[in-house]
Symmetry: D2
Subunit: 384 residues, 4 copies
């Protein structure tokens, strides 16, 4: 049985004085190997990752592996605890409106007075170091950068709540080789966001849908995690050396929000374990993986259908289903056009598909104003 260690971190003191805590569970093999960081529930209603972490903890407790794994279930207690009616209102900070997964920092893009770090200098100094030395030193630098930036931000007694949370996640993840940020969609299929440079590795998740994103920064945890390594690789290149970027980070979308299923969590855990095997974390064959013919699209082909009018919408396709150009994908109901028995049929209008695609997710509610999201879909789909 491997050791599981719990580290308690006070995150936020509420107005009444009680604290919200982050609990980090660290499982160490005692052997050299990759450091893996797995966090869940950064958005309040996106719960399934916590159940998946439970299944993974059970597996790693008893199976031999290399390196270490840090699990952070319930990563964002403010978000999971925030209720408005019976639903969890936790995609954004209820005070500031900031999306909890858009405030991470791209440290390589900041002035060195904020980070205490110069990438150019770092590469210059380590141009002759082995790959392994470079990686080790760079992780140490990333941790220091987090500290330095925290001091910069908190010079007015304290920094802002949003940034504080996001920075803490980055700091905990700084020594990692692999970062998995477990999310869910609204009413959604299972899908992955993968940077283009790691797309072949992504196939080992055996997920049905993959969105290929450019190696650029838009504020999310996966991007904030891989950007330093992408920039490091570029800077080495610039200074004349090819350094292999073996760091990988993914946003893993585990179906629909507001629910957990332990049975599905066992399957999700297998997919992640299969990926981790590929990455050398362990060498145990994972059986009973889902048999899927994975599909992928580029981010630019991940399209949103917005409601053309306000009304109640019936969704004609479920997450994971394919549709053809011209298919009726939604029907709206509204009585504002109905004046009498003649015009009753005007109560219903249809939304048709403009291109072939696959439904990735749809709105959690049928009650939708004009301009609010109906569907998010993959177009120009290819096999993985």
């Amino acid at each position: 049985m491997n050791k599981l260690e719990r580290i308690n971190h006070p995150l936020k003191q509420q107005p009444n004085g009680d604290w919200l805590w982050i609990n980090i569970f660290r499982c160490s093999s005692g052997l050299e190997g990759p450091n893996v960081h797995i966090q869940a529930n950064v958005h309040g209603a996106e719960l399934q990752g916590n159940a998946v972490i439970f299944e993974l903890m059970n597996w790693f407790k008893t199976n031999p592996f290399k390196g270490s794994i840090s699990f952070i279930p319930f990563a964002n207690p403010t978000a999971v605890n925030q209720k408005s009616g019976m639903y969890t209102q936790g995609r954004y900070n209820p005070v500031s409106g900031n999306n909890w997964n858009r405030n991470y920092i791209n440290f390589m893009a900041l002035d060195s007075n904020k980070t205490g770090f110069s990438l150019e200098e770092f590469v210059k100094e380590n141009i002759k170091a082995t790959d392994e030395e470079v990686r080790k030193k760079f992780k140490t630098e990333l941790f220091k950068i987090c500290d330095h930036y925290q001091n910069y931000v908190e010079q007015r007694a304290h920094g802002p709540e949003d940034g504080h949370f996001n920075l803490l996640m980055q700091k905990i993840a700084s020594p990692s080789d692999i970062v998995l940020d477990l999310h869910t969609g609204p009413i959604a299929a299972r899908y992955l966001y993968s940077a283009d440079y790691q797309i072949s590795s992504a196939a080992h998740f055996k997920f049905p849908h993959v969105l290929e994103i450019p190696s650029e920064f838009d504020g999310a945890m996966d991007e904030a995690s891989f950007m330093p390594w992408v920039e490091l690789t570029k800077e080495f290149k610039k200074q004349g050396r090819d350094l292999k970027n073996s760091f990988e980070a993914y946003t893993v979308e585990l179906g629909s929000e507001e629910r957990i299923s332990f049975e599905e969590a066992k399957l999700d855990a297998k997919c992640i374990l299969n990926f981790l095997k590929h990455k050398g974390v362990h060498d145990i064959e994972i059986s009973d993986l889902p048999k899927v013919e994975g599909k992928k699209s580029l981010l630019k082909d991940y399209r949103t259908y917005y409601a053309p009018k306000g009304g109640l919408y019936e969704f004609c396709f479920s997450p994971g289903e394919s549709f053809k150009k011209g298919d009726v994908i939604a029907r709206s109901l509204s009585f504002k056009q109905v004046k009498n028995e003649e015009s009753l049929s005007k109560a219903i209008e249809e939304v048709t598909a403009l291109e072939d695609g696959i439904v990735v997710n749809h709105n959690t509610s049928a009650s939708i104003a004009s301009g609010q999201t109906l569907y998010q879909v993959m177009e120009n789909v290819s096999n993985i």
Copy 2:
């Protein structure tokens, strides 16, 4: 083709000056017969009733019937339009917190200075009138009572928003013989609330579940509708005459909230049409009704399971499913008891059934604080 007439009623002026409207659709047969009042969507997220009204309007447009029907889809625009995150936050007034279905008025319990009406006097005056005359006059009185009470409430320039809405619904419904208030549960089965005195009539809905409520007042539309007739019957009894109470009102629960399904709406409409046939509104045989063995419980046996602790809950039984005393009905996930690999199994705790029962509904979210609702269930179930 029967006539469908639309009546537009301004309900509420928003702070920016734009109005929210109620649209009443009245379908008249031109023949003597019952007046039917069908409203939907008093709670914001409870949408399916609007689709059912659409199906019913289609049916009544083309089929012969007796009497008249008033349809009020989207009865409560404030509620259906109120969003918090992607969900509809419309079970209660977002300003006052008042549940939109608990502010109706039991006029018979009010002082006559508020209503301009004395039940004792009314019965005295009509003690010799025919049943039909009594009913007709009493409906007229109910309408006048609404007016009188409205004047009483609005003596400070205007009355409160909640009361204004509820009173308007009662006023529109005052000439009715049958009132159906279409709701849904959270994640829920299809079920009816029926007053005890009309329980045999309720069977004609062919609904799988019926909750039998006492003929008492707790603020809801069905109760506010039938209480005057219940009291009228009692007062006649007191003054020595048996008057049959043929008035009926139901809260009709059409499954889960935040969604619509036109296919299910066709079935729901059939159930309602079968009931209306029984009540003499039409005489067309309704085919393809659901084959259900209906179950009922008394309201006192409609029990809530609250969460014994805060955590994420997996629901082991779905709405409509039966469970036995001792069954594990929910599993909660929390890592606060987990200190190390030894105590990992403490992450999961079970909630077991204390009696046999049938799940009527469960929470829309798995993220639940201690004391929040897990399930509502029927116990001591009998066949209808």
Copy 3:
């Protein structure tokens, strides 16, 4: 220096597993004397009572007194922590919509199977006991009733969150002779709710405004606290003995919400200390009390002005100010009537007073839909 003891009570486990706590601070004189219960912040945005409790704790720490005092600042952590935008959204439970100060229990009105108590029996048994004995025994019974009722409610593993909180407050308060529930209004004057039977005692608060309420139950803490004693007195009367009801409970409104002021808290504390001196808790002269000519109204003369239309409202009178019938008390701004330069003046409409009165509070926002509260005012005012 008197002893101050802290008792920590876990109130609610949040979905992430962290607890919200209630901290009770008990200050005991070691001498016979009244038990005083002072709680604050049951509604989330009503903060000033916490500062007043701090001032009172400082006073009681160092001054001689009789009996004991229990302070419960931040009584309702869910409410004070709940944010929506920058404001505290804590007048009602964000999940259920229940007003946190309307779920208390009138135990004397419940069946004895729920309370394990019969008032008639209790009086019968104690008809010969001294007043002091009766009071002591009755307090013990009240505590037991809370326990009994809690068991009744929690027979499904756990009771509902709202009830759990309210019942806990009642249980803590059960041995008290005096209960003060510290609230604030929205934008408000300082005022008291006092039951009619204790109205002469209320004058010792030296508050500018007093609302005299009947000795009836409407769900609030003060009512839930005094109702058992009112009923006890009645039952003794019924069984032929006059028992003086020396129990008193007040809802104390300390100005506007969403703010604290330590300077004002010192004044508020003096007013409460002056009242407590009158009740025999201490015998120290309180100096520098506010010089006010107190005004009172009956609850039936506490009137609400609702917005006649949607728009932005300027409030022409501040809390505490008097107005005359016919005065313009508010002006609304909306451009929906403005079509051109001719009709520009229609942008503004006036609300005039229908009777003389004093402003007790007004809406916290100028942005108001038709039917939402403008003002609450006292009419038919008399001197205390």
Copy 4:
């Protein structure tokens, strides 16, 4: 009397089918002169601008001027109508969390496939045109760009709600020479945001506080309005010609949110009229302007104090007040450090100023979690 024309624009259809409208009021002098665009209430609780627009409309109705003015009061109906409790919850879209004043578009930074426009080409073509011709043509291009971009965005039947609103405001403002976006702070002083290039012009507002921002883009209306003109000027420079940028745009902060005051609005209107006189819109002397010694800071010296701990905060300085380094600017109250009579004094902690400054605004609530905003202050202040 000048003409006032009203243009009604449907903005958003709500789920119940009712529309929210934008009403544009256009006042034309019939003379050549600047086009002025004045909008208010983009954030829901920021109301005072609507009263100021009313005062300005009254002035322009009767006084001679040059050019034309478009007024858009209640610019964002979704925001002003959105209530959570008694407060307006309208700084961000309640569904998406997007700040309503951070979604405007910097068209000059977009690919020409999205805008149908090339700045380089435009300047090339107009390198010999007169300044006046350039301005006129550029305004026409800006309008076309809005159209082009709208088509690009709405290719999936409809665009997103946030973008739709922001784009509409930009489109309406595209022919303008002056854009004023009327906001308020939370509990705030009156202050201006001014781009550095127009800072001397800003003095004519006679406002007490000015924040000087760089001519860069961060998503706000003022920035989105001046950026095209800043870029145009740069491109002319690049192609060898000096073009004077006479376009100006400001965010005008009119004190605290959730309230209106017609008296203050008259003063605010005078300040704006004085500025417009400076810009040649009219030549009437504005009397009784406030006598202020205006202070300014750079945006980098506009600093936020965040709460170092959760608790209730008393604000020791009001908006507009100066404080010195070391001053106690806030006191927090929490009882979590209080264990007994000895530690009672720990209930209060102080926040001290780290530098000299002037309070611009503070939190609307005293109930604050760690990391939430206390104050925003100006440092390194200089006279205007």
